[in-house]
């Protein structure tokens, strides 16, 4: 049984030939000294793509955040200016009202000619 199993293993694990296309590329690369490029890349090719995707995503998030902050700042500046204008307008109106009230009080408190004479 043991020898049968071992002979079966030997038979099953006989060397297999690489693809003809690969064999030719290998010879060209090793013997002719062609620039070294992977005949086929799997995981290594995915790494830069993943890196670029992550970098793009991070850049987009940062850009979005920056734009949002800038717009927020501008909105705050505009609302500050608007508030300042409204406060000044309120002060101006108040000043006008006070002036009117002051003049009204002043005109009422001035003695009438008849009152002066006691008639």
């Amino acid at each position: 049984m043991s020898n049968d199993l071992e002979s079966q293993l030997k038979a099953a694990l006989r060397p297999v030939a690489p693809r003809q296309e690969f064999s030719e590329k290998l010879l060209a690369q090793v013997v002719l000294g062609n620039p070294r490029t992977k005949v086929r890349r799997l995981a290594p090719a995915r790494l830069p793509l993943a890196w670029w995707l992550s970098a793009s995503l991070a850049a987009s998030v940062l850009l979005g955040f920056g734009v949002h902050e800038h717009l927020q700042e501008r909105r705050m500046q505009q609302s500050g200016l608007e508030a300042r204008r409204e406060v000044l307008e309120a002060l101006r109106v108040t000043s006008q009202k006070l002036q009117l009230a002051y003049e009204a009080v002043k005109s009422q408190s001035a003695p009438l000619p008849d009152e002066k004479t006691g008639a």
Partner: protein, 188 residues
């Protein structure tokens, strides 16, 4: 390898070391099958095996001066291929042995082996640790004895024997559980 073939490879090696490209091509042609097979069965995927084969021969072309003979060349190729494959397997946290589409490419096209046994071998290879897998492949694919395997993998002889025994026991148990093996020439 017979003496004549060995002499021829020694001759190619000597010429390749002097810069003869056709001699280097002959060496690559002579050994690409064994390197690729070892890489394929270690890594379990054709693409990875091709990449590894390419890396091994690129390393060879820049280390030719350190290769002393055709026997040394074979030893060097097995050692570099095994060690690189073991390193790759260890680096990978989650290793899928072989995609289903590529299953049959692990085996020779001359399919005179029991398909059930092939499946059992494939499953067992996937379950073995990287060093145990290398030991089994060097024993049954490259027909090395345990001493040669120990030397190639720089591993204690007893560890090699232990790996071999455990792997064969596992395969035997699987084969028994799945029913008797069909052996060529033994069928009634």
């Amino acid at each position: 390898m017979n003496d004549e073939a060995s002499d021829l490879l020694d001759e190619h090696l000597a010429k390749a070391r002097l810069g003869d490209r056709s001699a280097l091509a002959a060496l690559v042609r002579a050994h690409q099958g064994s390197v690729y097979s070892l890489a394929l069965r270690m890594l379990g995927a054709r693409d990875l095996a091709e990449d590894l084969t390419q890396e091994v021969f690129m390393q060879l072309s820049s280390n030719l001066k350190s290769i002393e003979s055709s026997r040394h060349l074979i030893f060097w190729l097995r050692q570099v291929t095994s060690n690189r494959a073991i390193d790759q397997l260890r680096r990978r946290a989650r290793f899928t042995f072989t995609p289903l589409d590529d299953e049959m490419q692990l085996f020779s096209e001359q399919q005179d082996t029991d398909p059930l046994l092939q499946r059992q071998i494939r499953t067992m290879l996937a379950e073995l640790s990287a060093p145990a897998r290398a030991v089994l492949l060097l024993r049954f694919q490259d027909d090395l004895d345990p001493t040669e395997i120990a030397e190639t993998l720089n591993m204690p002889l007893n560890t090699v024997k232990s790996h071999l025994k455990r792997s064969l026991d596992t395969l035997r148990v699987k084969a028994t559980a799945a029913g008797p093996l069909r052996l060529e020439g033994n069928s009634p």
